[in-house]
Protein backbone atom coordinates (compact mmCIF):
# COMPACT_ATOMS: atom_id res chain seq x y z
CA UNK A 1 0.00 0.00 0.00
CA UNK A 2 1.25 3.49 -0.81
CA UNK A 3 1.69 5.72 2.20
CA UNK A 4 -1.52 7.57 1.35
CA UNK A 5 -2.61 9.92 4.05
CA UNK A 6 -6.02 9.30 5.47
CA UNK A 7 -8.23 6.57 6.82
CA UNK A 8 -9.78 3.72 4.88
CA UNK A 9 -11.99 0.91 6.17
CA UNK A 10 -12.29 -2.40 4.30
CA UNK A 11 -15.57 -3.86 5.41
CA UNK A 12 -18.76 -5.80 4.62
CA UNK A 13 -22.07 -4.05 5.10
CA UNK A 14 -23.78 -6.35 7.61
CA UNK A 15 -20.68 -7.45 9.55
CA UNK A 16 -21.11 -6.67 13.25
CA UNK A 17 -17.31 -6.66 13.53
CA UNK A 18 -16.99 -4.02 10.82
CA UNK A 19 -19.77 -2.04 12.47
CA UNK A 20 -17.71 -1.79 15.65
CA UNK A 21 -15.06 0.09 13.70
CA UNK A 22 -17.66 2.28 11.94
CA UNK A 23 -19.31 3.23 15.23
CA UNK A 24 -15.97 4.06 16.88
CA UNK A 25 -14.92 6.23 13.92
CA UNK A 26 -18.29 8.02 14.00
CA UNK A 27 -18.09 8.63 17.75
CA UNK A 28 -14.68 10.24 17.19
CA UNK A 29 -15.84 12.25 14.18
CA UNK A 30 -13.14 10.77 11.92
CA UNK A 31 -13.50 11.19 8.15
CA UNK A 32 -12.74 7.97 6.31
CA UNK A 33 -13.20 6.16 3.02
CA UNK A 34 -15.43 3.11 3.23
CA UNK A 35 -14.71 0.23 0.86
CA UNK A 36 -17.26 -2.57 0.57
CA UNK A 37 -15.63 -5.97 0.01
CA UNK A 38 -17.13 -8.84 -1.95
CA UNK A 39 -16.30 -11.69 0.41
CA UNK A 40 -16.60 -14.30 -2.34
CA UNK A 41 -14.05 -12.36 -4.39
CA UNK A 42 -11.68 -10.55 -2.04
CA UNK A 43 -9.81 -7.54 -3.38
CA UNK A 44 -6.04 -7.39 -3.87
CA UNK A 45 -6.00 -4.63 -1.30
CA UNK A 46 -7.68 -6.79 1.35
CA UNK A 47 -5.38 -9.74 0.67
CA UNK A 48 -2.39 -7.43 0.97
CA UNK A 49 -3.68 -5.58 4.04
CA UNK A 50 -4.63 -8.73 5.97
CA UNK A 51 -2.53 -11.55 4.51
CA UNK A 52 -2.77 -13.65 7.69
CA UNK A 53 -6.55 -13.91 7.96
CA UNK A 54 -7.84 -12.27 4.74
CA UNK A 55 -10.81 -10.98 6.76
CA UNK A 56 -12.63 -7.72 7.26
CA UNK A 57 -12.67 -5.29 8.92
CA UNK A 58 -9.26 -3.78 8.20
CA UNK A 59 -8.53 -0.17 9.08
CA UNK A 60 -5.82 1.37 6.92
CA UNK A 61 -4.39 4.54 8.49
CA UNK A 62 -1.83 6.46 6.43
CA UNK A 63 -1.14 3.25 4.52
CA UNK A 64 -0.68 1.03 7.59
CA UNK A 65 -3.24 -1.74 8.20
CA UNK A 66 -4.80 -2.60 11.57
CA UNK A 67 -6.73 -5.89 11.82
CA UNK A 68 -9.13 -7.50 14.33
CA UNK A 69 -12.17 -5.40 15.25
CA UNK A 70 -11.52 -4.89 18.98
CA UNK A 71 -7.88 -4.06 18.29
CA UNK A 72 -9.09 -1.55 15.68
CA UNK A 73 -11.46 0.05 18.23
CA UNK A 74 -8.65 0.38 20.82
CA UNK A 75 -6.40 1.86 18.12
CA UNK A 76 -9.06 4.40 17.10
CA UNK A 77 -9.57 5.31 20.75
CA UNK A 78 -5.82 5.82 21.32
CA UNK A 79 -5.10 7.79 18.14
CA UNK A 80 -8.13 10.10 18.28
CA UNK A 81 -7.90 10.57 22.01
CA UNK A 82 -9.14 14.17 22.03
CA UNK A 83 -12.83 13.31 22.02
CA UNK A 84 -15.37 10.67 23.09
CA UNK A 85 -13.10 8.46 25.21
CA UNK A 86 -14.25 4.87 24.78
CA UNK A 87 -12.15 3.43 27.63
CA UNK A 88 -12.23 4.33 31.31
CA UNK A 89 -8.96 5.77 32.64
CA UNK A 90 -8.78 3.57 35.74
CA UNK A 91 -6.77 0.38 35.03
CA UNK A 92 -9.23 -1.87 36.89
CA UNK A 93 -12.24 -0.45 35.02
CA UNK A 94 -10.28 -0.84 31.78
CA UNK A 95 -9.58 -4.50 32.58
CA UNK A 96 -13.29 -5.05 33.22
CA UNK A 97 -14.20 -3.38 29.91
CA UNK A 98 -11.69 -5.53 28.01
CA UNK A 99 -12.95 -8.68 29.78
CA UNK A 100 -16.59 -8.12 28.81
CA UNK A 101 -15.79 -7.05 25.24
CA UNK A 102 -13.74 -10.24 24.93
CA UNK A 103 -16.70 -12.21 26.40
CA UNK A 104 -18.97 -10.79 23.68
CA UNK A 105 -16.32 -11.77 21.12
CA UNK A 106 -15.99 -15.33 22.39
CA UNK A 107 -19.70 -16.03 22.81
CA UNK A 108 -22.26 -13.96 20.93
CA UNK A 109 -21.44 -14.49 17.24
CA UNK A 110 -20.79 -18.24 17.50
CA UNK A 111 -23.86 -18.95 19.60
CA UNK A 112 -25.97 -16.69 17.38
CA UNK A 113 -24.80 -18.56 14.29
CA UNK A 114 -25.83 -21.86 15.85
CA UNK A 115 -29.32 -20.45 16.41
CA UNK A 116 -29.98 -20.09 12.69
CA UNK A 117 -27.76 -22.94 11.42
CA UNK A 118 -29.10 -25.72 13.61
CA UNK A 119 -32.44 -27.37 14.32
CA UNK A 120 -34.06 -29.52 16.99
CA UNK A 121 -32.11 -30.36 20.13
CA UNK A 122 -28.91 -28.65 18.98
CA UNK A 123 -30.82 -25.42 18.37
CA UNK A 124 -32.48 -25.71 21.78
CA UNK A 125 -29.06 -26.06 23.40
CA UNK A 126 -27.84 -22.96 21.53
CA UNK A 127 -30.96 -21.06 22.61
CA UNK A 128 -30.36 -21.97 26.25
CA UNK A 129 -26.77 -20.78 25.92
CA UNK A 130 -27.81 -17.50 24.23
CA UNK A 131 -30.26 -16.77 27.05
CA UNK A 132 -27.48 -17.38 29.60
CA UNK A 133 -25.16 -15.07 27.65
CA UNK A 134 -27.78 -12.30 27.49
CA UNK A 135 -28.56 -12.64 31.18
CA UNK A 136 -24.88 -12.51 32.17
CA UNK A 137 -24.50 -9.34 30.10
CA UNK A 138 -27.67 -7.93 31.64
CA UNK A 139 -26.25 -8.52 35.14
CA UNK A 140 -23.13 -6.66 34.03
CA UNK A 141 -25.15 -3.74 32.68
CA UNK A 142 -27.34 -3.53 35.78
CA UNK A 143 -29.15 -0.22 36.01
CA UNK A 144 -26.43 1.74 34.21
CA UNK A 145 -27.26 3.76 31.12
CA UNK A 146 -24.50 2.05 29.18
CA UNK A 147 -21.98 -0.72 29.94
CA UNK A 148 -19.51 2.16 30.18
CA UNK A 149 -21.62 3.86 32.86
CA UNK A 150 -22.84 7.32 31.90
CA UNK A 151 -20.64 7.30 28.80
CA UNK A 152 -20.93 5.05 25.79
CA UNK A 153 -17.86 2.83 25.99
CA UNK A 154 -15.81 -0.10 24.73
CA UNK A 155 -18.25 -2.85 25.72
CA UNK A 156 -21.17 -0.88 24.24
CA UNK A 157 -19.29 -0.60 20.93
CA UNK A 158 -18.38 -4.31 21.05
CA UNK A 159 -21.92 -5.53 21.69
CA UNK A 160 -24.32 -3.04 20.06
CA UNK A 161 -23.92 -4.30 16.45
CA UNK A 162 -25.36 -7.64 17.56
CA UNK A 163 -28.60 -5.93 18.61
CA UNK A 164 -29.62 -5.73 14.96
CA UNK A 165 -29.35 -9.54 14.92
CA UNK A 166 -31.72 -9.98 17.90
CA UNK A 167 -34.76 -10.18 15.61
CA UNK A 168 -33.07 -12.98 13.62
CA UNK A 169 -32.10 -14.87 16.79
CA UNK A 170 -35.65 -14.48 18.16
CA UNK A 171 -37.32 -15.57 14.94
CA UNK A 172 -35.10 -18.60 14.32
CA UNK A 173 -35.09 -19.90 17.89
CA UNK A 174 -38.47 -18.66 19.09
CA UNK A 175 -37.74 -16.54 22.14
CA UNK A 176 -37.81 -12.87 23.06
CA UNK A 177 -34.77 -10.83 24.13
CA UNK A 178 -37.11 -8.43 25.93
CA UNK A 179 -38.61 -11.41 27.72
CA UNK A 180 -35.34 -12.93 28.94
CA UNK A 181 -33.21 -9.78 29.33
CA UNK A 182 -35.39 -6.64 29.43
CA UNK A 183 -32.55 -4.31 30.49
CA UNK A 184 -30.55 -5.38 27.44
CA UNK A 185 -33.56 -4.64 25.22
CA UNK A 186 -33.88 -1.16 26.77
CA UNK A 187 -30.12 -0.55 26.46
CA UNK A 188 -30.34 -1.47 22.76
CA UNK A 189 -33.06 1.18 22.26
CA UNK A 190 -30.98 3.81 24.10
CA UNK A 191 -27.98 3.05 21.90
CA UNK A 192 -30.10 3.57 18.77
CA UNK A 193 -30.65 7.16 19.96
CA UNK A 194 -26.95 7.77 19.27
CA UNK A 195 -26.28 8.98 15.74
CA UNK A 196 -23.18 6.77 15.40
CA UNK A 197 -25.26 3.67 16.09
CA UNK A 198 -28.44 4.66 14.20
CA UNK A 199 -26.46 5.48 11.05
CA UNK A 200 -24.42 2.26 11.19
CA UNK A 201 -26.84 -0.53 12.09
CA UNK A 202 -29.17 -1.96 9.48
CA UNK A 203 -32.86 -2.59 10.03
CA UNK A 204 -33.25 -5.93 11.83
CA UNK A 205 -35.61 -7.13 9.07
CA UNK A 206 -32.87 -6.50 6.49
CA UNK A 207 -30.41 -8.47 8.64
CA UNK A 208 -32.99 -11.28 8.80
CA UNK A 209 -33.21 -11.27 4.98
CA UNK A 210 -29.43 -11.77 4.96
CA UNK A 211 -29.71 -14.62 7.50
CA UNK A 212 -32.33 -16.28 5.27
CA UNK A 213 -29.95 -15.91 2.31
CA UNK A 214 -27.20 -17.58 4.39
CA UNK A 215 -29.54 -20.37 5.44
CA UNK A 216 -30.32 -21.12 1.79
CA UNK A 217 -26.63 -20.98 0.93
CA UNK A 218 -25.74 -23.44 3.69
CA UNK A 219 -28.72 -25.67 2.89
CA UNK A 220 -30.46 -25.10 6.22
CA UNK A 221 -34.24 -25.54 6.06
Amino acid sequence: MASEKGVMLLDFWVSPFGQRARIALAEKGVQYEYKEENLTEKSELLLKANPVHKKIPVLIHDGKPVCESLIIVEYINEVWSDKAPLMPSDPYQKAQARFWADFVDKKVYDCGSRLWKLKGEEQQAAKKEMIEILQLLEAQLGDKKYFGGDSFGFVDVAFVPFTSWFYSYETCANFSVEGVAPKIAQWAKRCMERESVAKTLYDPKKVYEFVCFLKKKFGVE
Partner: protein, 231 residues
Protein backbone atom coordinates in the same frame (compact mmCIF):
# COMPACT_ATOMS: atom_id res chain seq x y z
CA UNK B 1 10.32 5.31 46.08
CA UNK B 2 8.29 2.16 45.40
CA UNK B 3 4.60 2.83 45.01
CA UNK B 4 2.19 1.35 47.53
CA UNK B 5 1.76 -2.17 46.14
CA UNK B 6 -1.31 -3.23 48.01
CA UNK B 7 -2.17 -6.88 48.29
CA UNK B 8 -1.34 -8.90 45.16
CA UNK B 9 -2.47 -12.51 44.80
CA UNK B 10 -2.24 -14.77 41.77
CA UNK B 11 -4.33 -17.93 41.38
CA UNK B 12 -2.51 -20.26 39.04
CA UNK B 13 -0.80 -23.53 38.24
CA UNK B 14 2.88 -24.30 37.57
CA UNK B 15 2.14 -25.99 34.23
CA UNK B 16 -0.05 -23.29 32.71
CA UNK B 17 1.57 -21.07 30.06
CA UNK B 18 -1.22 -18.54 30.65
CA UNK B 19 -0.28 -18.28 34.33
CA UNK B 20 3.36 -17.74 33.34
CA UNK B 21 2.34 -14.49 31.64
CA UNK B 22 1.29 -12.45 34.69
CA UNK B 23 4.16 -14.02 36.69
CA UNK B 24 6.68 -12.72 34.17
CA UNK B 25 4.94 -9.32 34.04
CA UNK B 26 4.94 -8.97 37.85
CA UNK B 27 8.62 -9.95 37.92
CA UNK B 28 9.41 -7.31 35.28
CA UNK B 29 7.74 -4.71 37.48
CA UNK B 30 9.42 -5.99 40.65
CA UNK B 31 6.03 -6.59 42.31
CA UNK B 32 5.89 -9.30 44.98
CA UNK B 33 2.80 -11.48 45.00
CA UNK B 34 1.29 -14.44 46.83
CA UNK B 35 0.81 -17.52 44.64
CA UNK B 36 -2.19 -19.78 45.11
CA UNK B 37 -1.55 -23.06 43.29
CA UNK B 38 -4.66 -24.77 42.01
CA UNK B 39 -4.86 -28.58 42.21
CA UNK B 40 -5.49 -30.10 38.79
CA UNK B 41 -8.97 -31.58 38.59
CA UNK B 42 -10.36 -29.74 41.61
CA UNK B 43 -11.11 -26.01 41.43
CA UNK B 44 -10.80 -24.02 44.66
CA UNK B 45 -13.58 -21.91 46.19
CA UNK B 46 -11.36 -18.87 45.69
CA UNK B 47 -11.07 -19.57 41.95
CA UNK B 48 -14.80 -20.21 41.49
CA UNK B 49 -15.58 -17.01 43.38
CA UNK B 50 -12.97 -14.90 41.56
CA UNK B 51 -13.70 -16.12 38.03
CA UNK B 52 -17.34 -17.23 38.00
CA UNK B 53 -17.67 -16.72 34.23
CA UNK B 54 -14.89 -19.05 33.03
CA UNK B 55 -13.64 -20.72 36.26
CA UNK B 56 -10.12 -20.68 34.79
CA UNK B 57 -6.62 -19.67 35.82
CA UNK B 58 -4.86 -17.25 35.92
CA UNK B 59 -6.73 -14.76 38.09
CA UNK B 60 -4.94 -11.76 39.55
CA UNK B 61 -6.51 -10.42 42.74
CA UNK B 62 -5.32 -6.90 43.54
CA UNK B 63 -6.58 -5.43 46.80
CA UNK B 64 -9.42 -7.93 46.72
CA UNK B 65 -10.50 -7.17 43.14
CA UNK B 66 -10.15 -9.97 40.56
CA UNK B 67 -8.84 -9.55 37.01
CA UNK B 68 -9.22 -12.48 34.56
CA UNK B 69 -7.80 -13.47 31.15
CA UNK B 70 -3.99 -13.59 30.92
CA UNK B 71 -3.51 -10.93 28.23
CA UNK B 72 -5.87 -8.54 30.03
CA UNK B 73 -4.01 -9.18 33.32
CA UNK B 74 -0.67 -8.31 31.67
CA UNK B 75 -2.07 -4.99 30.39
CA UNK B 76 -3.49 -4.27 33.86
CA UNK B 77 -0.08 -4.94 35.46
CA UNK B 78 1.61 -2.64 32.93
CA UNK B 79 -0.89 0.18 33.53
CA UNK B 80 -1.07 -0.15 37.32
CA UNK B 81 2.69 -0.24 37.90
CA UNK B 82 3.47 2.07 35.00
CA UNK B 83 6.34 3.82 36.78
CA UNK B 84 8.09 0.56 37.68
CA UNK B 85 10.43 -1.05 35.20
CA UNK B 86 10.16 -0.63 31.44
CA UNK B 87 6.82 -0.41 29.66
CA UNK B 88 5.47 -3.81 28.67
CA UNK B 89 3.15 -2.50 25.92
CA UNK B 90 4.78 -0.35 23.21
CA UNK B 91 4.02 3.36 23.54
CA UNK B 92 3.06 3.97 19.90
CA UNK B 93 -0.60 3.08 19.13
CA UNK B 94 0.29 1.33 15.86
CA UNK B 95 2.98 -0.80 17.53
CA UNK B 96 0.46 -1.62 20.26
CA UNK B 97 -2.04 -2.78 17.62
CA UNK B 98 0.62 -5.00 16.03
CA UNK B 99 1.64 -6.50 19.40
CA UNK B 100 -2.02 -7.18 20.22
CA UNK B 101 -2.65 -8.67 16.75
CA UNK B 102 0.17 -11.21 17.06
CA UNK B 103 -0.83 -12.03 20.65
CA UNK B 104 -4.34 -12.90 19.43
CA UNK B 105 -2.69 -14.98 16.66
CA UNK B 106 -0.51 -16.85 19.20
CA UNK B 107 -3.57 -17.59 21.35
CA UNK B 108 -5.48 -18.75 18.30
CA UNK B 109 -2.83 -21.17 17.00
CA UNK B 110 -0.34 -22.33 19.61
CA UNK B 111 -2.43 -23.72 22.52
CA UNK B 112 -4.63 -25.60 20.06
CA UNK B 113 -1.58 -27.13 18.32
CA UNK B 114 -0.14 -28.17 21.69
CA UNK B 115 -3.43 -29.66 22.83
CA UNK B 116 -3.74 -31.66 19.60
CA UNK B 117 -0.12 -32.83 19.52
CA UNK B 118 0.49 -33.82 23.12
CA UNK B 119 -1.66 -36.98 23.19
CA UNK B 120 -0.08 -38.27 19.97
CA UNK B 121 2.87 -40.54 19.31
CA UNK B 122 5.85 -40.14 17.05
CA UNK B 123 5.12 -40.87 13.41
CA UNK B 124 1.33 -40.76 13.57
CA UNK B 125 -0.36 -39.28 10.50
CA UNK B 126 -2.34 -36.84 12.63
CA UNK B 127 0.91 -35.67 14.26
CA UNK B 128 2.31 -34.86 10.80
CA UNK B 129 -0.77 -32.79 9.92
CA UNK B 130 -0.87 -30.90 13.20
CA UNK B 131 2.92 -30.39 13.12
CA UNK B 132 2.61 -28.71 9.70
CA UNK B 133 0.16 -26.18 11.17
CA UNK B 134 2.51 -25.40 14.06
CA UNK B 135 5.50 -25.05 11.68
CA UNK B 136 3.46 -22.64 9.53
CA UNK B 137 2.43 -20.54 12.55
CA UNK B 138 6.03 -20.35 13.81
CA UNK B 139 7.17 -19.32 10.32
CA UNK B 140 4.76 -16.38 10.34
CA UNK B 141 5.90 -15.46 13.86
CA UNK B 142 9.53 -15.56 12.65
CA UNK B 143 8.63 -12.89 10.06
CA UNK B 144 6.78 -10.92 12.72
CA UNK B 145 9.87 -11.10 14.93
CA UNK B 146 12.05 -9.61 12.17
CA UNK B 147 9.60 -6.72 11.74
CA UNK B 148 8.86 -6.04 15.41
CA UNK B 149 12.37 -6.41 16.87
CA UNK B 150 14.01 -4.21 14.20
CA UNK B 151 17.31 -5.96 14.90
CA UNK B 152 17.02 -5.79 18.68
CA UNK B 153 16.83 -8.64 21.20
CA UNK B 154 13.10 -8.94 21.74
CA UNK B 155 9.75 -8.32 20.00
CA UNK B 156 9.53 -5.40 22.40
CA UNK B 157 12.97 -4.07 21.38
CA UNK B 158 15.65 -3.90 24.08
CA UNK B 159 13.22 -5.10 26.73
CA UNK B 160 10.80 -7.99 27.03
CA UNK B 161 7.37 -6.76 25.95
CA UNK B 162 3.78 -7.87 25.57
CA UNK B 163 4.31 -10.15 22.57
CA UNK B 164 7.51 -11.63 24.03
CA UNK B 165 5.47 -12.65 27.07
CA UNK B 166 2.55 -13.96 24.98
CA UNK B 167 4.68 -16.22 22.77
CA UNK B 168 7.52 -16.88 25.22
CA UNK B 169 5.15 -18.34 27.80
CA UNK B 170 4.21 -21.04 25.24
CA UNK B 171 7.85 -22.17 24.74
CA UNK B 172 7.88 -24.70 27.60
CA UNK B 173 4.97 -26.64 26.10
CA UNK B 174 6.41 -26.36 22.57
CA UNK B 175 9.60 -27.97 23.93
CA UNK B 176 7.54 -30.65 25.73
CA UNK B 177 5.61 -31.50 22.56
CA UNK B 178 8.92 -31.73 20.63
CA UNK B 179 9.91 -34.53 23.01
CA UNK B 180 6.52 -36.27 22.87
CA UNK B 181 6.12 -36.51 19.07
CA UNK B 182 9.87 -36.26 18.35
CA UNK B 183 9.52 -33.42 15.84
CA UNK B 184 11.76 -30.37 16.06
CA UNK B 185 9.76 -27.12 16.06
CA UNK B 186 12.38 -24.71 17.41
CA UNK B 187 14.59 -25.42 14.41
CA UNK B 188 17.61 -23.12 13.89
CA UNK B 189 17.50 -23.82 10.15
CA UNK B 190 13.88 -22.83 9.71
CA UNK B 191 13.33 -20.10 12.32
CA UNK B 192 16.78 -18.79 13.35
CA UNK B 193 15.49 -15.47 14.66
CA UNK B 194 12.94 -17.08 16.98
CA UNK B 195 15.36 -19.77 18.20
CA UNK B 196 17.94 -17.15 19.22
CA UNK B 197 15.16 -15.03 20.76
CA UNK B 198 13.86 -18.02 22.74
CA UNK B 199 17.28 -18.54 24.33
CA UNK B 200 17.47 -14.87 25.33
CA UNK B 201 13.91 -15.04 26.69
CA UNK B 202 14.62 -18.11 28.83
CA UNK B 203 17.80 -16.52 30.22
CA UNK B 204 16.05 -13.32 31.33
CA UNK B 205 15.90 -12.61 35.09
CA UNK B 206 12.13 -12.20 35.04
CA UNK B 207 11.55 -15.46 33.17
CA UNK B 208 14.13 -17.96 34.48
CA UNK B 209 12.32 -19.42 37.47
CA UNK B 210 8.85 -19.17 35.96
CA UNK B 211 9.18 -21.57 33.02
CA UNK B 212 8.63 -25.25 33.89
CA UNK B 213 11.04 -27.92 32.67
CA UNK B 214 9.92 -29.64 29.46
CA UNK B 215 10.48 -33.09 31.06
CA UNK B 216 8.14 -32.20 33.88
CA UNK B 217 5.48 -31.21 31.35
CA UNK B 218 5.96 -34.50 29.47
CA UNK B 219 5.37 -36.35 32.77
CA UNK B 220 2.36 -34.10 33.47
CA UNK B 221 0.95 -35.05 30.05
CA UNK B 222 1.35 -38.75 30.84
CA UNK B 223 -0.55 -38.29 34.08
CA UNK B 224 -3.23 -36.18 32.40
CA UNK B 225 -3.83 -38.80 29.70
CA UNK B 226 -3.87 -41.70 32.16
CA UNK B 227 -6.62 -40.03 34.16
CA UNK B 228 -4.47 -39.47 37.24
CA UNK B 229 -6.11 -36.12 37.86
CA UNK B 230 -9.57 -37.58 38.32
CA UNK B 231 -12.12 -35.04 39.44
Amino acid sequence: MAAERGEVKLIGGWASPFVARPRIALNLKGVAYEMFQETVGKKSELLLKSNPVYKKIPVLIHNGKPICESAIIVEYIDETWSSDGASILPSDPYDRAIARFWTVYVDDKIPDAIRKLRPLVKGSAVAEVEAEKLHAALQLLEEAFEKCSKGKSFFGGDNIGYLDIALGSQLAWIKAVEKIVEIKFLDKEKIPGLVAWSERFYAHEAVKEVMPEADRLVEFTRMLLSGSFAK
